[in-house]
Symmetry: C3
Subunit: 138 residues, 3 copies
């Protein structure tokens, strides 16, 4: 069986990292499915999905690493195309990836104790985001 849900988020952009674990867990419980996977997908090319221990120190460390890989104040050819200022956002999104698949067993996500599902908004302005949750199983 397949259950399609949406998750709506207001973000601040600028590498805003949001813990969506409880909302994903709630959607899985609401599906009535006991065993399967949930695929969380960002329709858009300036966001990413991953997991991390959601505490301010680790979030800061991840952001600093991304600042080195794709600095916000770097020169990007994407800017020449559209007059945008979010070239680094596109690079980060392609590297982190727009999709995350998490198993659930007996109706519960198989996350570790100190592991949270996060949406990362790399864009350079606040965004109203819509994530797709595709819940598949039995």
């Amino acid at each position: 069986m397949v259950i399609s849900e949406e998750l709506r988020l207001d973000t601040e952009g600028h590498c805003h990292i949001i813990d969506i674990s409880s909302r994903v867990a709630e959607a899985v419980r609401g599906s009535g499915l006991l065993s399967g996977t949930v695929t969380i997908f960002c329709p858009g090319s300036t966001g990413g999905l991953s997991t991390i221990e959601y505490e301010s120190g680790a979030l800061h460390d991840l952001e600093r690493a991304l600042d080195q890989i794709a600095p916000p104040d770097g020169d990007y050819r994407h800017h020449l195309r559209w007059g945008d200022d979010n070239g680094h956002s596109h690079v980060r999104s392609a590297l982190i990836g727009p999709s995350l698949t998490v198993p659930f067993v007996e109706g519960a996500l198989t996350l570790g104790t100190w592991q949270q599902i996060v949406f990362l908004d790399f864009d350079t302005r606040p965004r109203a985001r819509r994530l797709v949750l595709q819940i598949m199983g039995e």
Copy 2:
């Protein structure tokens, strides 16, 4: 239900980034399934799958970031092993990842307007590639 498809591509290697969105969408439509996920998988250790806004500026920016993470002209121990010249290709593939799962709803991929599915060929020569599309749903 599970529908297995293949997608064949001729690439130029050297971080050739190819938009495969329309071919993936076509395979999903052809499956007759309405709701589920398609997993696109590269059988090989020098390719990667992700999404990006497919315009030349953003592609260039991504390639430049990868050039810094794993420079083509760097020293790689992999070269000592086989006399290969594609050590950087293996590093990039492991970082970007060989697999991408995209939901579809009412028969359509849930991509954003400016978001394309891309295959990245990091190898150092033209390749005839075969990607696996595993379409699952109902």
Copy 3:
């Protein structure tokens, strides 16, 4: 159908990279399913899943690239929080990602000849790890 399996591993930490391909293939064969996907998931925020050509040169090259992105001896705010020494482990895990989905067809994983599924333990001590294998298909 959904079959849930676990895979237990003793690791050395410190970017220990372990080839789990044959154990994943065995679990898929044991499931009795012929076509579908296996999602390998690490419940924990200091491990990662990917694929690579499993030879010591390529493993060394990947580790060196990760040493530049998130050096083990760098300053991390995560250390201030808990007195931990594994800030770089969290950054690497979030970048590589905790989840990998691999298709199987006619009971066999669709890996390339020189491509292995690897678990990467980024933590700073030996760990007894448990990975979740969610096998879905028909």
